[in-house]
């Protein structure tokens, strides 16, 4: 009995050690970054104040708090903080001038980058510069306004759950369009009200939960996987049939990552949408169409013959 307990304990210990090693090795630069997270991962930070010769504790500016869990799940999780931020940040207290540092843009790293060629960053950059975000606002509007450098991760391509992708992507838009403080970083408008500006939209709640903002507000092109050319309000899709029809636009955007063979499953047009929802007009069924047409034709034919025979027999 003792022997068995020892074996179980040994296995448990081995598993614990292995899992700890696994956790450590899976997060690159976690050791280096932990120095930053010691302050920027918490609501308070402490330091030795030499002028008053004691340790003081201060509250961290909430906009400078980085969620380490989200950080190590995002696209750039393998980065060291100083890959993007100045090396001088390794010294504390930080030099005040560092606040003025120019942050890198996406193309600074991704231009001509073979590893990310499939995302076509150059085309995304061009689309973005043709979008209202770029043309109507100052250069303050950068990629980072939407793609939080400390938490953004690709979703549409990797997440099979389209509804989760919709929430994730829409929250990016809402992070400005439903947040007055962030919105006013680049706009003089007092309060964006997404609900009021969409009051014409039938079943507003359902639409908000089932499609992304960019479905109607961005120009879809073949070159870029996720549309970045946000259109002016006047150019937004308002014609319901753009999605509610056989050639639904949604299949070229939201559902483009679904396998093509799913698109006509069991005779349903645009079947790629069916596991997550149903779009009137887009998910009609080819077999039911044929069957209903045949039945309708037969009924009309029988009525026609019946009417003629009635007329003849009178």
């Amino acid at each position: 009995m003792k022997k068995h307990i020892l074996i179980v304990l040994f296995l448990a210990m081995a598993l614990l050690i292995f899992s700890q090693n696994e956790a450590k090795t899976s997060v690159k630069h976690s050791k280096e970054n932990s120095k930053c997270f010691a302050c920027h991962g918490a609501h308070t930070y402490s330091f030795q104040n030499d002028m008053i010769e004691r340790i003081v504790t201060k509250r961290m500016n909430p906009y400078f708090i980085i969620d380490s869990v989200l950080y190590y799940e995002q696209n750039h999780k393998s980065f060291e903080c100083i890959d993007c931020h100045s090396y001088d940040y390794t010294e504390f207290p930080h030099n005040n001038d560092l606040r003025m540092e120019q942050m890198p843009s996406c193309l600074d790293c991704h231009e001509g980058d073979d590893a990310t060629e499939r995302f076509n960053f150059e085309e995304i950059y061009e689309e973005f510069h043709e979008s209202v975000h770029s043309t109507k606002h100052s250069e303050e509007f950068t990629c980072w306004m939407c793609h939080n450098p400390h938490s953004y991760k690709i979703n549409a391509r990797t997440n099979e759950n389209v509804l989760e992708t919709i929430v994730y992507d829409n929250n990016i838009c809402l992070s400005c369009h439903a947040d007055v403080d962030k919105y006013q970083l680049i706009s003089d408008k007092e309060k964006p009200n997404v609900i009021d500006s969409h009051d014409w939209l039938p079943n507003q709640i359902t639409h908000f939960a089932r499609v992304r903002c960019i479905e109607c507000h961005a120009q879809i092109t073949d070159d870029v996987l996720v549309a970045h050319q946000i259109q002016p309000k006047s150019e937004a899709v308002k014609k319901c049939a753009e999605c509610h029809s056989k050639n639904a636009e949604l299949l070229a955007s939201l559902y483009q990552f679904r396998a093509k063979e799913n698109r006509s499953k069991y005779g349903f047009f645009n079947a790629a949408m069916l596991s997550d929802g149903y779009v009137i007009g887009a998910n009609r069924n080819v077999y039911l169409n044929i069957l209903s047409g045949v039945i309708f034709g037969l009924v009309v034919l029988v009525i026609f013959i019946h009417a003629i025979l009635r007329g003849v027999s009178k």
Binding site: C240, H244, Y278, I280, V299, A307, R310, S313
Partner: protein, 206 residues
């Protein structure tokens, strides 16, 4: 009630005629808008999709209110008697009427079940009306209301998206009822004259 000058039956009281007229108008609006929704296209729109949605919703709500009125009226007036039937011998009666419509009518045979004060509908009519009014219409109304409030539909029904499943039932029944309407209107022309039944719908006399 018998008319003094004619050998006619007063079969359709005013409430039946009003209900029938409203039902017919709403039904036609629902079929028309239902088709425009199901076969909507960017290139060709008879009516704008959002207008179709609104008309379809309002027509459906009005139809459902009058359906409830119809159920109550049938429950508390003698009109409900016309919808009661006995299972025993039903098949024979229905087949007899079916054979009349299929063959006898062309030989100018006597109607097997002539209309009387007690028998407004022949067996085939009665069976189809009962199926339509007490089975198909309630289901299409329930599925219609579920689609009006899609958030209350379960996400998954029998492996299908819940909304899709409910909509399939709604669309299939819509088609069945559309076929019924076509046949129903045609059978209305089988009266003393092709228009006599339509006149009855207005004046109440058969």
């Amino acid at each position: 009630m018998k008319d003094k000058n004619h050998d006619k039956l007063y079969l359709y009281p005013i409430w039946v005629r009003i209900w029938h007229l409203i039902n017919a108008i709403m039904f036609l609006a629902l079929v028309f808008t239902g088709l425009t929704l199901q076969y909507s296209s960017v290139d060709f729109e008879i009516i704008k999709f959002n207008y179709s949605i609104s008309i379809h919703n309002y027509a459906g709500i009005i139809l459902s209110i009058f359906f409830v009125f119809f159920l109550f009226a049938n429950r508390f007036t003698s009109n409900g008697n016309y919808y009661q039937f006995h299972i025993k011998g039903l098949y024979d009666r229905v087949m007899k009427q079916f054979m009349y419509y299929s063959f006898g009518i062309f030989k100018n045979e006597e109607k097997p079940f002539p209309i009387t004060k007690e028998r407004k509908f022949n067996p085939l009519q009665k069976l189809s009306y009962v199926l339509i009014m007490y089975f198909f219409v309630p289901i299409i109304i329930i599925t219609g209301y579920l689609l009006l409030f899609p958030d209350i539909i379960p996400k998954n029904i029998l492996g299908f998206s819940g909304i899709h499943f409910v909509d399939l039932i709604h669309i299939i029944l819509g088609f069945v009822l559309s076929i019924f309407i076509i046949v129903h209107v045609y059978f209305c022309t089988i009266g003393k004259t092709p228009l006599s039944n339509f006149k009855s719908m207005i004046n109440g006399w058969h």
